[in-house]
Amino acid sequence: MNRIKQLAINEEGFVFDPLTGDSFTVNQTGLFILQKLKEGKETEQIVKELTEEFEVSQEEAERDLIDFVEKLRSYRLL
């Protein structure tokens, strides 16, 4: 179940899950990824945009994205 689309995300990285009432804070990169996932973008596209937005290599962006997505899975948000 993809619950990302239901999340309320503010510009400062405060994230509220209306299903569970849980709230999280994410850093700038996390916020960027969440917004892209919410827009329904695929992994490859997000990696590309991460390398454009931040000064990171493709490998580093991929690794960070996989880590973050796993974390979202552990919270059952993906």
């Binding site: 569970t20 009432g21 059952r76």
Partner: protein, 346 residues
Amino acid sequence: MELKIAVSGINAVDNPGPGIGVAKSLTEAEDFSAQIIGLAYDAMEPGIYMDWIIKKSFIMPYPSGGHDAFINRLIYIKDNYGLDFVMSVLDAELPVLIKYADELEKNGIKTFLPTYQQFKLRAKDRLEEIAQSIGIDIPKSAVVSSYDELIKAVEKIGLPVMVKGAFYKAYRAYTTQEAISYYNKIVAQWGYPIIVQQVVSGEEMNVVAVGDGEGNSLGMVGIKKMWITELGKIWTGVTIKNEKMLTAAQKFIEKYGWRGAFELECIVDTKEDRVYLIEINPRFPAWSYFSTGVGVNIAANIIRKAFDLPVKQYADYPAGKLYVRFTDDLVTDMDRFQKVITRGES
């Protein structure tokens, strides 16, 4: 339309009754003008002194006094001050009010209550059947009245267990010895029977809703308690939209034709997508003003329904709204207190 509405549970103390929240909700309705009458059981109930919400208060005899005491007191209020509606928010008042609702109606006092059959659904031994019929789960539980039954139940359910009174108190026991100790504690204070229940993982979420008695909802809001007091009472909460829990509340209204306000107390395990029904309260919870604060004034809708005014359709509410309770204090003259003590009314 001007209405004199009596509200009980105005004991706004550390374990607050629901009355003040309900009274505030009623006074905020724009399509009728509610003048609130407080029904108190003690001259110290803070609502008596909160004259910006409650214009006049009366000391009530305990509902266990039955018809002669309780109902006659309401009729006295009607005759001497005026009374159009009784909004009961306390469990203990419901049986007598349900029983004599017709007599009150004949005397020009309306109520909007569940039937006696519906009221009995709140009994803990009915929860399993209700949970099943509205598509949610219930923790394994057993009703016990002796050490022997208690020990057997603990063995069957497996530690840890919740040890609960029929209406009040609940403790988590990690050992059989602890379970026995809590059993004794609850029996000494509240009597038999005792309920032994499986501990389920998840978070406490609640729904406040009102049914119109014809299978329709007159408003519904789901919340999660974020911070509770030592007595387990909400201090901070947030509105949530757990569809499974809200659907269960909707089904409860449809299936049982529930009339009046109620609260479903649930434990929600979002990882396993399970909702466990813990308790049904046949009345407003103490936090019901939260619902009004997010635009769903269900207390006002009860009045609209009872007086054939157009009910408001509250289809939705925002998730992520925060509820914060706070303490306050006031200073007043002794006059009001003396008046309440000597005359039984403010």
